[in-house]
């Protein structure tokens, strides 16, 4: 096996292992992220508390793991919904020139608004919380993927084999299911994987700004927000571990996604 392939394989396995162990460890946490130890407040990392404790004596390691799990689900769901909206919109654009013009108008309008602003407005309008973050990220992040999918479908519609399929008497539904969708699925996969880190980082941003997850949920954004109050006191562990954890998870997902994409493209 060549060296680039070996290192790709190893890094993918490592990424999968890290992600899986974080999710499994978080599942066994129970109430630990909320448990307070008043005799051990703001302690630096030690053997009992590997990542230290916060101002209320809560274990930062447990809170980071719980936060990462929450981020993982928020990111996955937002990426899934965003991709589905993009695919739906791209297919809608194929219904006719008027539909195409309408979809293109919506895409261009949404892309012209800075997406953090859009995200804030939607999350605020929905009143905050986990579902608001998921919906806001999905609703604000589909346009760029929809544009790619629309271009691909426009090209595919003119492909000789699609025209022949039509001439052979295949229905529109058959052509969409058997010729169009399999061809755009890899694009959807890549789109979803690029959306995931966005969703995770935006969830953290929204929670940090106060319109995301509520303060009692151990989300990464909430942890980072709390750490801001203590950073001037030198309590570095409150921010560094959750932040590094978030970065590591995003990198792992990207690694897995890249491998998946290559495996698919090789066919």
């Amino acid at each position: 096996m060549s060296q680039p392939r070996l290192s790709a394989l190893l890094s993918t396995a490592l990424a999968g292992l890290l992600l899986a162990s974080a999710l499994i460890a978080a599942a066994g946490l129970g109430d630990t992220p909320r448990q307070m130890h008043f005799d051990a407040r703001l302690t630096p990392p030690n053997l009992d508390f590997w990542f230290g404790t916060d101002a209320l004596g809560r274990d930062v390691a447990a809170r980071t793991l719980a936060g990462l799990t929450l981020s993982f689900w928020v990111g996955s769901l937002a990426a899934l919904f965003g991709t589905l909206i993009a695919l739906g919109m791209a297919l809608t654009a194929m219904l006719g020139p008027r539909w195409d013009a309408l979809v293109s108008l919506v895409i261009d309008t949404l892309l012209s608004v800075p997406h953090l602003l859009l995200l804030l407005m939607i999350a605020f309008a929905l009143g905050g919380g986990t579902h608001a973050v998921i919906i806001a990220v999905a609703l604000s992040h589909w346009p760029s993927l929809a544009r790619v999918l629309r271009a691909e479908l426009l090209h595919l519609r003119q492909a000789p084999y699609v025209q022949i399929s039509q001439a052979l008497g295949k229905s529109r539904g058959f052509i969409v299911r058997h010729h169009w969708i399999p061809q755009v699925l890899p694009h959807c996969l890549v789109g979803a994987l690029l959306l995931f880190p966005h969703a995770v980082l935006h969830e953290a941003a929204l929670s940090f700004l106060g319109v995301g997850l509520s303060a009692e949920q151990p989300a990464i954004g909430v942890l980072l927000g709390e750490s801001m109050r203590h950073v001037s006191g030198g309590d570095w562990w409150l921010g560094v571990f959750p932040g590094a954890g978030l970065l590591l998870m995003v990198l792992c997902i990207q690694r897995l996604g890249e491998t998946l994409r290559r495996a698919w493209a090789a066919r």
Partner: protein, 206 residues
């Protein structure tokens, strides 16, 4: 590009069409097969307008078979998209059972072209538009392709429009020839080529 073009293709007739590159031969082929809709005028098949839905009685055969097949489908799925050709026909076109489980990328251009031609011969198809289907094949493969097609066309009285630059090929295959130039159909210029065979007479009996 095309202006006031009118042509009639009879059942069982082989009609040759040539013209310089960009003259609109392929556009005419796409119009006849219903891939394009004419801005004015109609395509009529056996007295009725070309249907938009269902199996069309006019089928277009492509120049590049690689673009005419879904790259994610296996050969079996491609060949049997509209009908299941009987074994005798598969043999006539030299299509091997071993190809069925392969992806189209694993077949040569000539092999894939024969699959594409047989795919289009579903029952109910009355006319074929063969757009440069043999120009990239070696002489032996060309022969196998045209012999297979000739057999089915004679059997079912299919009308075939052969589009090609190859005057010798058109003369051998077709009972009548037309040239497309400046958007109009004209009788072909003769470069001392032998006259086409009489209508209804196949080149094989010549």
């Amino acid at each position: 590009m095309l202006d006031d073009v009118s042509l009639t293709l009879d059942a069982g007739e082989w009609l040759g069409l040539d013209g310089v590159s960009g003259a609109g031969k392929s556009t005419l082929g796409h119009l006849l097969a219903g891939h394009l809709t004419p801005q004015a005028g109609t395509v009529t098949v056996d007295g009725a307008p070309l249907p938009r839905r269902g199996l069309r009685p006019v089928q277009w055969l492509p120049q590049s078979p690689e673009l005419a097949v879904n790259p994610r489908w296996r050969v079996k799925q491609i060949l049997e998209e509209a009908w299941t050709p009987p074994d005798a026909l598969r043999d006539a076109f030299g299509i091997e059972p071993a190809w069925m489980n392969r992806f189209p990328q694993a077949l040569s251009g000539g092999e894939l072209q024969r699959v594409c031609v047989l795919r289009a011969l579903a029952p109910g198809v009355r006319y074929l538009v063969a757009d440069e289907i043999s120009s990239m094949l070696d002489p032996l493969t060309q022969l196998a392709l045209w012999q297979g097609l000739r057999r089915v066309a004679d059997e079912r009285q299919l009308g075939v429009l052969v589009i090609s630059h190859d005057a010798a090929l058109l003369n051998r295959l077709c009972s009548r020839r037309l040239t497309l130039s400046d958007g109009r159909l004209r009788p072909p210029k003769r470069y001392g080529a032998p006259p086409a065979t009489a209508p209804g007479q196949s080149p094989a009996s010549r």
